[in-house]
Every structure is written in C-alpha cells, then in structure tokens.
Amino acid sequence: MKRSVRKRVNLVSIEIALIVITFVIFLPILLGITMSIQPPESVFAFPPKLFPTGFHWRNYTEAFRKFPFEYFLMNSLIIGLATTLGKIVTGILAGYAFANFRFFGKSFSFAFLFATLFLPAETIMIVPLFAIMKQFGWVNTYWALTIPFMASATNTFLFRQHFRSMPKELEDAAKIDGAGYMTYFFRILIPLSKAIIGGSAIINFVYAWNMYLWPLIVSMEDKMKTVQIGVKMMIDAEASNNWGIIMAGTMIALFPTLLVFFCLQSVFVKSLVRSGVKG
C-alpha cells in the first residue's frame, strides 16, 4: 500500500519534471516563432512576449522582399536533393560490392573508405578543397556545392550491413532462376531496401540542408547562397533593428527540417541509431 503511494508520487514528480524540461528545451523554437509573427511595432515590446498576440505575415513578406529567399530556398533544395540522391546511389552500389562479392583488394579498399571517417571534413574544406575547386573553376557553382558530397563511408556501410543481413538463399534462388548480378540487385535487393533508403534519405537531406561552412566559403553571389547563409546575412544586416524579420528567416530555414523530423521521427531515430552519424 505504502509502496504504491510512493510509486505514484514518484511518477507524478517525473511527469512534472518532464513537462518543465520539455517546455524549457522547446522554448527557444517557440519564442522564435512568436517573434516571427509579431507585428513590427511590438518587436520591442517590454516585457518580451511569450506567446503570440496575433498572426502577422509581415515579417515573412519583408524577409522575401529584402533578401532573395526564393533563391536561398531553391539552392538548399537543389543541394539537399542532389547530394541525398548521390550519396544513396553511390552508397548502394559500393555497399553491394562489399556485401555480395569477393574481390582482390577488398579489405584494403574497405579500410581506405573507413579511414575517411577520421579525417576532419571541415578542416579539409577550408584550405585544400577550396583550392581544388578554384583549379576546377567550380567556385560559386552547384558542382562545388554537390559533387564533393556525393559519396560517404557511412552510407556505404549502412547498405553493406543491410545487404549482408539478407538471407543467402535469396541470392542462390535468384541465380538458379537465371538472374544475373544486376537483375538480382535491381529486382530483389533494391525493393527490399525501401525502408532503409527512406531512412538514410531523411538523414542525408537534413545534413545537407543544415550545412554551413562549405556553402559559406564556396558561394560568392547572393543567388548561390543557401538558407543557412541567408539567415547569417540577415543577422549581419538587421540585428540592431528588427529581430522579427530575422526570426521569420530563421523559421523559413528551420521549418522544412522540423516538419520532416516531426512527421517521421521514429524512422529518423531508428536510422540514426543504426548508422551512428552525427548531424
């Protein structure tokens, strides 16, 4: 009797703690939304507001009017889709090679790929990769923003792991029925990998959408910039006068990833734990 009362009290205090913590952690996003839909005259309201008093689009339309957000969004979308597609295609192909074939130099090439995980990507970008882009004449182009990110060790390992988990009998049966390597690959392996392709697509897209350092270095004109860099431009231009418009830009940049995250959270979390990538 006494025990169950204590357990109840425990549960209630955990519940209260969770409510408070959830509120505190979500608060920065909530306050950003509130600020973004304030009318400009109450941006400097004191005390600052916790919840919106109305709904005003003004900051959003102003964001689009003052900054080329249509380009920022388009660029982020192009980069996100292209690198996601590239990483998945190259990852599936290489994963298939590592999982289903025996060939000379396999363990060496595997180690060679694995070692890239321990090279700091951001450091490589700053001096040498930028120099290579200059040599290629790729600075300020979509090539520079997409091609270097079209393959990754993590995607290869993810698909290799998945293909290895398929029963061997499946491959044998397909071979007896006369299917070649690529028929087996396209007709059987790929259709059985839809869930994992979806999961890695989400993670790769969010990663590309959230990239900052590389687009900052490699895009020169405003029309080549991404939403992340657009938000930084807004801070530099507007921080002293209008935080409403900055928060509107922030929400434009944040909304797509947040939406994907809320809708597909279980897929997201599962693939994250499986692949162990840091985003």
Binding site: I14, F26, F101, P120, E122, I132, K232, A239
Partner: protein, 298 residues
C-alpha cells in the same frame, strides 16, 4: 554454355570494381587529395601576390607554436570542448533516464525534446543570439527581473563563452539522449527489479547498474561530442560571436578559417589544418584503444 560461364566469371570479377568507382572517385578527389595537399602546402609559403610558392620547411609550424594568439585559441578550444562535452553527457543521461520512464505522454515529450536535432548549428546560434539579445531577448529580461543585471552576453568576457555553451549544449543534447535511451532500453528489467528487492534506492541503481551498463555508449558519445564541438561548432561561433570579443571565443577551427579567408595566409592556415588532423588522429587512436574493449563494469 562454356563461353557464357567464362563471360559470367569475368563479369563477376570486374563488377565489384565498377560498383566501387563512383564512391572511390569522390573520396579520392575530394577527401584524400585535399588532405594530402594540405600536408604539402603546410611546408610552403605563398608570396604576397600569390604568384609564387616557396618551400620553407617547418617554419609555418614554428611560427604557429610561437604565436600567442594560437596558444590562446588552443586553451579556449580546450575549455569550450570540455564544458560542452561534460555538460552534454551529464544532462543527456539524466534526461534519457526520465524519458525512459513509462509515464503518460512520454512520446510527446520525446518529440519536443528531440527537436533541436533538426535545428542546424547556424539556426541554433541565431535563436540563442535572439534570446540573449540585450534589448529584445527573453533570457536577458529574465536576468533583469531576477537579478537586476543586464548582461551583454555576446560581447563581453566571460559571458560570450556561456552564450556559446548554451547554444552548443542545447543543439547537442538530442543526439546523446537518443543514444542513451536506446542503450537504457537494453538494461534488463529483472536486474533492476532484483536490485529493488535487495533494497537499493533509485540513485544507487542508477549509479551502480544503469550507468556502468551504458558505459560503452557514454564513451562513444564523449568521442562524438568532442569531434562535433571541435569542428562543427564553427557555425555557432560564426553566427553568435565571430570569435570575439577581441578574439576571446576564437577556437582553433575559427582561427583556421580566419587565417585562410580573412587574412589569406595559406601556409599558416595549412599548418593549422595539419594540427587539426593530428588532433583528430589522437581522438581516433583513443577511441580504438579504449572503445573496442567495451568494459561494462567500470
């Protein structure tokens, strides 16, 4: 028939190489080639007009280690990384324990608590710059009401460090919480129940059973958080403080960026890249020396 088999064999032998070409083309061209060239470039000096490169041996490194600014940014990096990692690990473990309880609405709490994962470092920096803003920010308002002080978070020492920490830890928490929850779910209920019957209190159970059992994950998370706060924190710093005030929040990564782009010093910047490579190699070696053993009962 025989011919076909021969073809099949040759095809089967070359196919894996064909499959690997796209991935290896990208990683060789855009990861290995630049990595090697930064080692080479660190030994050269570029003339002021950029038209000549002169071999200078290790003098870029000598100048780097003599430079008091570089030493300062190394210390700042050490502080920033250790604070971020320790706080992230500690808080995320506690939050994972709470979220692992079966209470009504825990799915809803998880969804909202995980949401900073979808937020980019740049956006995290922007949100916190707003909250900490001395005029419109809510945190600032709270400090005014509670302690009657107005703090210039982003532009004064040591508050700029705290500002970066808020933003970095907030952004880093979900990743670690997600992994801790997955790990805690593997701790068997029977073990915890029998400990309860033996009379162990909650704290004792956490400290003596759950924490040791998830130690491999803790180790993995420490490594991942070190890497991300060393390298990926760039965006947060660039948005919030730009390395200021007066170079106070300039990490090694941010100094590398400044030297390469603001000051166009290619040689010194390459030497700094090499230092970063070595640091990363150090972290990697530690990971493989200790991580693979997976000691549970630490």
């Amino acid at each position: 028939m025989f011919k076909r088999k021969l073809f099949h064999n040759a095809y089967g032998k070359t196919l894996p190489y064909l499959l690997l070409i796209p991935t290896f083309a990208v990683i060789i061209l855009f990861i290995y080639w630049p990595a090697v060239s930064s080692f080479r470039m660190s030994l050269y000096k570029v003339s002021p007009f950029g038209n000549k490169t002169i071999y200078t041996g290790l003098s870029n490194f000598e100048n780097l280690f003599k430079n008091p600014d570089y030493e300062k940014s190394a210390w700042f990096t050490l502080f920033y990384v250790s604070f971020t990692v320790i706080a992230t690990i500690f808080l995320s473990f506690i939050l994972a324990l709470l979220l692992n309880q079966k209470v009504p609405g825990s799915r809803f709490y998880r969804t909202l608590i995980f949401s900073p994962y979808a937020v980019s470092p740049a956006i995290s920096g922007t949100l916190w710059s707003f909250l900490l803003n001395p005029v419109v920010g809510h945190v600032n308002y709270f400090f005014m009401k509670a302690f009657n002080v107005q703090v210039l978070w982003l532009t004064t020492k040591p508050y700029a460090l705290y500002a970066l920490l808020f933003s970095s830890i907030w952004k880093a928490l979900p990743f670690s919480i997600i992994f801790y929850i997955a790990a805690l779910q593997n701790v068997s209920d029977e073990l915890l129940e029998s400990a309860t019957i033996e009379g162990a209190g909650t704290l004792r159970k956490i400290w003596k059973i759950q924490f040791p059992l998830v130690s491999p994950i803790t180790f993995y998370l420490v490594i991942m958080n070190i890497i991300s706060s060393m390298f990926q924190s760039f965006a947060i710093i660039d948005v919030m403080t730009k390395g200021g005030p007066g170079g106070y929040t300039t990490t090694m990564m941010y100094r590398l960026f400044l030297d390469a782009f603001a000051y166009q010093k290619t040689g010194p910047a390459s030497a700094q890249s090499v230092v970063m490579f070595l640091l990363m190699a150090g972290v990697t070696i530690v990971y493989f020396l200790f991580g693979e053993r997976k000691v549970h009962y630490a």
